[in-house]
């Protein structure tokens, strides 16, 4: 038996989608990245002129400065903010698909793999007698190395029986180690300009020139155009790759396109956010967007917006505080956006969930109260169980004592008082002078509907248990909409048969 199970599960794992990686792993990777960023940040502070390393003071910018930066008056600020904003736009868009494809950590490995690419590109350029800091050359190196990194992951995944996370861990750490070794070698090379390479580790947007910003703009535009053109194909790929394959869509090629887009975004993020944190720009806006919508197009747009705003704010803050490392600031702004979304997101945010839960509790309690009242009426002097027929006559003249309602349910006196107060406010229940309760006309009608639905559902579940689960929407106000008129007629007949003989059987509807 065990053997069957293993072979079956192997089969599954061969064909099924990649296993979900825990959020824990991502969190761990991110925290590790943040740690390395901290280390890398230390040497970054001295080359900046004007501040000494001993100067740890934090000066608030003046209002004029702030306004100047926010309105993008300075040419330099404009360049940087434009570049980073475009980056946020592109990373939010691609990140949505990356997140839904469950390849977040692949992007992380990819960005780390870019570091040795930069190092090798620098060495190659210097050996060729060029300027080692030639940006397009360095980015090309990063792009190629990133692709090689993804290639390594794929090779490990397909030729060994190692799981994905192991392959990712190996590639990520080894390439980062290789990158650091290469950077150390470069530091000792007898040429200038090495110090600038550090900026790729955690990013320094201030070093961005007009030409760099144009590179970012063009790459971001290309990424967005491809995403828009392939929107439906990528949606299918992320949702159901097996079906996509059966339909003849080239799954592997689409995957390669998606990873190429991710690589492109990572590479243009190197300069402003840095390679350790590039993955945050891809994942966090998309993850935040998921709290706001249940629709992929809207999610993509929301993620792009969040990425854009984070990029803008991060760039502005780092323009106001030049000693702040740009990458971490942008990521922290992103994280703030994520926090806000997690709490306030209108689809899945915590507030909405708590609110829905509270509403449900309230509705159920109200129904319980109305039913309890109605049952008191039934057991009183005027039996009235014709739910659909004659109106309840003057429900107000029957008074129900609070003490009689209390044992009907498991509610506490305080809970009952609270829900009764709500019912009074809504005009469903009238509080008499002697503090007893009566149903109003509206309350009577609603109570009758609630009781009728409840009893019909009970009858239905008893008699049609086999088909019930698919139809149970017991909260539906109009039971006919869920079950259909015929079924309700049948149920009413069943219900009237069960009634004790002293009560008037309900008349067929419409009386």
């Amino acid at each position: 038996m065990a053997r069957i199970n293993t072979s079956r599960s192997r089969l599954r794992s061969f064909t099924a989608r990649r296993p979900k990686r825990g959020a824990l792993v991502i969190a761990a990777a991110l925290s590790m990245s943040a740690f390395t960023a901290e280390i890398a940040a230390a040497p970054m502070q001295n080359p900046k002129g004007g501040h000494s390393i001993a100067d740890t003071g934090f000066t608030w910018p003046t209002v004029e400065q702030t306004v100047r930066v926010l309105t993008l008056r300075d040419y330099n600020t404009r360049i940087v903010v434009m570049g980073v904003t475009c980056l946020g736009l592109a990373s939010g868009t691609v990140g949505t698909f990356l997140l839904l494809r469950k390849r977040s950590l692949t992007a992380d490995a990819l960005s780390h793999a870019a570091l040795p690419g930069i190092g090798l590109a620098f060495i190659t350029l210097v050996l060729l007698g060029q300027d080692g800091k030639h940006l397009p050359g360095l980015l090309a190196g990063a792009f190629i190395a990133g692709c090689l990194g993804v290639g390594c992951i794929l090779i490990i995944r397909h030729t060994t029986r190692l799981k994905d996370d192991a392959a990712l861990g190996i590639v990520l750490s080894v390439s980062f180690g290789l990158g650091v070794v290469l950077l150390t070698i470069i530091q000792q090379m007898p040429v200038g300009g090495q110090a600038g390479l550090q900026r790729f580790v955690i990013g320094r947007a201030a070093s961005m020139g007009a030409r760099d910003a144009w590179v970012i703009l063009i790459c971001a535009a290309a990424v967005i155009v491809v995403c828009a053109a392939l929107f439906k194909e990528l949606q299918l790929l992320c949702f159901d790759q097996g079906y996509a394959g059966a339909q003849g869509w080239p799954v592997i090629r689409l995957d390669v396109i998606l990873m190429a887009l991710v690589t492109m975004v990572t590479v243009i993020a190197l300069q402003s956010v840095g390679l350790v944190l590039a993955v945050a720009m891809l994942i966090i806006p998309a993850a935040a967007a998921r709290f706001w919508t249940d629709q992929l197009m809207r999610m993509t747009l929301t993620a792009a917006l969040i990425g854009m705003v984070s990029g803008y704010l991060g760039a502005v803050i780092s323009a106001l505080q030049p000693r702040m490392p740009t990458g971490p600031v942008i990521v922290l702004v992103c994280a703030a956006g994520f926090g806000v979304s997690m709490v306030a997101g209108i689809r899945r945010g915590m507030v909405v969930r708590v609110w829905r839960h509270w509403q449900l509790n309230n509705r159920v309690a109200m129904q319980h109260l109305l039913r309890a009242m109605f049952e008191q009426y039934e057991s009183g002097t005027t039996p009235d169980r014709a739910f659909d027929g004659a109106r309840m006559i003057q429900p107000r003249r029957i008074k129900v004592q609070f003490d009689k309602l209390l044992p009907k349910r498991s509610w506490t006196a305080a809970e009952l008082r609270g829900i009764a107060a709500t019912a009074v406010r809504r005009g469903l229940i009238h509080r008499n002078d002697d503090n007893s309760l009566s149903l109003t006309d509206a309350g009577g009608a609603q109570a009758r509907r609630v009781v009728r639905n409840h009893r019909l559902w009970e009858t239905y579940l008893i008699h049609y248990a086999d088909i019930a689960p698919s139809h149970v929407d017991r909260d539906a106000d109009q039971i006919e909409h869920v079950l259909g008129r015929d079924m309700v007629d049948r149920l009413e007949r069943l219900l009237s048969e069960q009634l004790p003989p002293r009560t008037v059987p309900p008349s067929p509807h419409g009386a």
Partner: protein
């Protein structure tokens, strides 16, 4: 440990049978090694190159599928007749889903050939609809039921173009056929399991294919969904379509299907349900599992009961 792990527990005699190399096994007549009578069985796998392979919706020749050196399917040879509801039945790990996946090119074959209406699958994709198992996707994905069904139209829409109103209309029609139109705009995680299964079915219907593959559509669904699926199966049959269903419930085989393929790593036998659904064939497929056999015995006594389908 050179024997395949996907085998169900079997008797010693069957184990001896399994030790025979696969190539020789196919040529050997399959004999019932558990009954004393030892009569040759009528419905063994037919030889290759038989009637109408050109027009058969699905013709499989000499298919062997292995996963990581462990053969899952051996020498499958099969012609499925047109316009029938076909069930693939067999024990767990018999390779039922693998057969479908290999036929759809989702899994590499070690050897063999699959022809859909006489041509390779690559050229006939537009004729084939596929309903995968429900668990293969993440139902938390941010799409509505209608979006998922519209995926069935992607092949017609083609590269780069968005889903137009015409195709959305077709998707809605497909949802209506499985009684799900009212849930069209719900996010898919808010649907029950049976409703999700019907969404998958609707997606295949939206394709308007000639040959359908369904992987365990009846697995853990509610009775309403089961009825809806059966009704759709009959509609498809009436429209002359062929449907191949991986099925796990012996109780309903005779009720729902016309044609039966009994599979346990090889095709034990196939043919019209009435001929093939016999106790002996089931024993050969499932091995000596007593509970199943007694269940089957019960089935034969009540085979004449009226179908539940309306």
């Amino acid at each position: 440990m050179n024997q395949p792990t996907a085998n169900p527990p079997r008797t010693a005699a069957a184990d001896a049978d399994r030790a025979v190399p696969p190539a020789r096994m196919a040529s050997r007549g399959v004999t019932d090694d558990q009954t004393a009578s030892a009569t040759p069985v009528a419905h063994t796998a037919p030889p290759t190159g038989e009637e109408h392979p050109r027009t058969a919706p699905l013709a499989i020749h000499d298919m062997t599928v292995a996963y990581d050196r462990k053969p899952v399917l051996w020498d499958v040879d099969l012609n499925v007749p047109e316009g029938q509801l076909v069930a693939i039945v067999g024990p767990n790990g018999a390779g039922k889903s693998t057969l479908i996946k290999a036929a759809l090119n989702l899994m590499p074959m070690v050897s063999g050939q699959v022809l859909i209406y006489g041509k390779p699958y690559r050229k006939q994709r537009h004729l084939v609809g596929y309903v995968p198992q429900r668990e293969t996707v993440d139902w938390d994905f941010p799409v509505s039921a209608l979006d998922v069904v519209a995926m069935g139209r992607y092949g017609r829409i083609g590269w780069f173009r968005p889903v137009t109103r015409k195709h959305r209309r077709a998707a809605l029609d497909a949802l209506e056929r499985v009684e799900m139109a009212q849930y069209a705009h719900r996010q898919i995680s808010q649907l029950s399991g049976g409703q999700q299964q019907r969404v998958f079915l609707a997606r295949a219907l939206a394709q308007d294919a000639k040959l359908y593959f369904m992987d365990e559509p009846f697995a853990s669904v509610d009775a309403a969904t089961e009825r809806a699926i059966v009704r759709v199966l009959h509609e498809l049959k009436d429209a002359g379509r062929t449907v191949i269903v991986v099925h796990h419930d012996l109780q309903t085989v005779t009720e729902y299907f016309d044609y039966l393929i009994l599979l346990n790593m090889r095709v034990v036998t196939h043919g019209p349900v009435d001929d093939v659904f016999t106790q002996e064939n089931l024993r050969m497929t499932y091995g000596g599992r007593l509970t199943l056999l007694s269940e089957a015995a019960q089935l034969f006594t009540q085979q004449s009961r009226s179908p539940r389908v309306d």
